[in-house]
């Protein structure tokens, strides 16, 4: 099978790598963002502390279903938008 990697693709892959590296150097996680992450963990731990294992399981399940629902809605919207672009 012939190698279908073209010069253009190789160039763009190098570009992609440079962009990724450059962006990561320019935008590392800030102290404020780290604080937000830690704060979110601690808040959730406090919320969960008062729940029984059964309540925790139910809460996790509810959150998971909500995430799935949101992802499905999002996917449907994308499909509609893509169909619109195809016309």
């Amino acid at each position: 099978m012939p190698d279908d990697t073209t010069n253009e693709e190789e160039l763009l892959e190098k570009f992609s790598h440079a962009v990724r590296e450059g962006w990561a150097q320019r935008h590392p996680l800030t102290e404020q963002q780290r604080g937000l992450v830690r704060g979110a963990v601690e808040k959730q731990l406090r919320e969960d502390k008062d729940l029984s294992p059964e309540e925790r399981r139910k809460k996790a399940e509810k959150e998971r279903l909500k995430q799935m629902e949101e992802q499905e809605q999002e996917h449907e919207m994308k499909k509609k938008r893509e169909r619109g672009r195809g016309r």
Binding site: T6, E8, Q25, L29, R38, A40, E42, Q67
Partner: protein, 186 residues
Amino acid sequence: MDSLTDLICRYQETRDPADAEKIIETIGPDLSRYIRSRIAPNSAKRDAWEDAFQETLVAIVRGLPSFHIGNADTFLSYCYAIARNKVADQFRGTKTEMNTFVDPELLREALAGLKDKTMSAESWADLNAAIALLKKNDPPCLEYLWNRYFVGLSFALLGEEYGITEDAATKRVRRCLSLARGLTED
């Protein structure tokens, strides 16, 4: 170094904030570039992209304990879906549309991080050639190539972005690359 899935599993067991931070460190820069690519600094409200990024981080962290981990790809897909929702939230109720195209300011910002880094003349030449190649393309190819090579979306994520399969996304990018080859030959 721990893999992303290892980190998530460990966090689900320990709920150690340090593990949550490591997870966010791993995915944060790519997510912030994605969000920034959708929200130009003057497009919605000031600092809108930073707000969307921070909201995305918090939502991801809150979802971690209940996330059914399959592999790193399913997790990334989940993170980008959250990011897309948070970006959309920033535009709700405004007449501005989100960015999906090449933003020269963003390109400058991304490459500014490389300024201090010693790069060979050949690497810079390659970089400039890639930028010139991108700019030669017209929509929708420009948009696909930009999302793939600047925003850094995998083919699977690109498919999700457009509501098409990974295979279809791969074929579209390949077709665009082949068109781009035609443009360079002209």
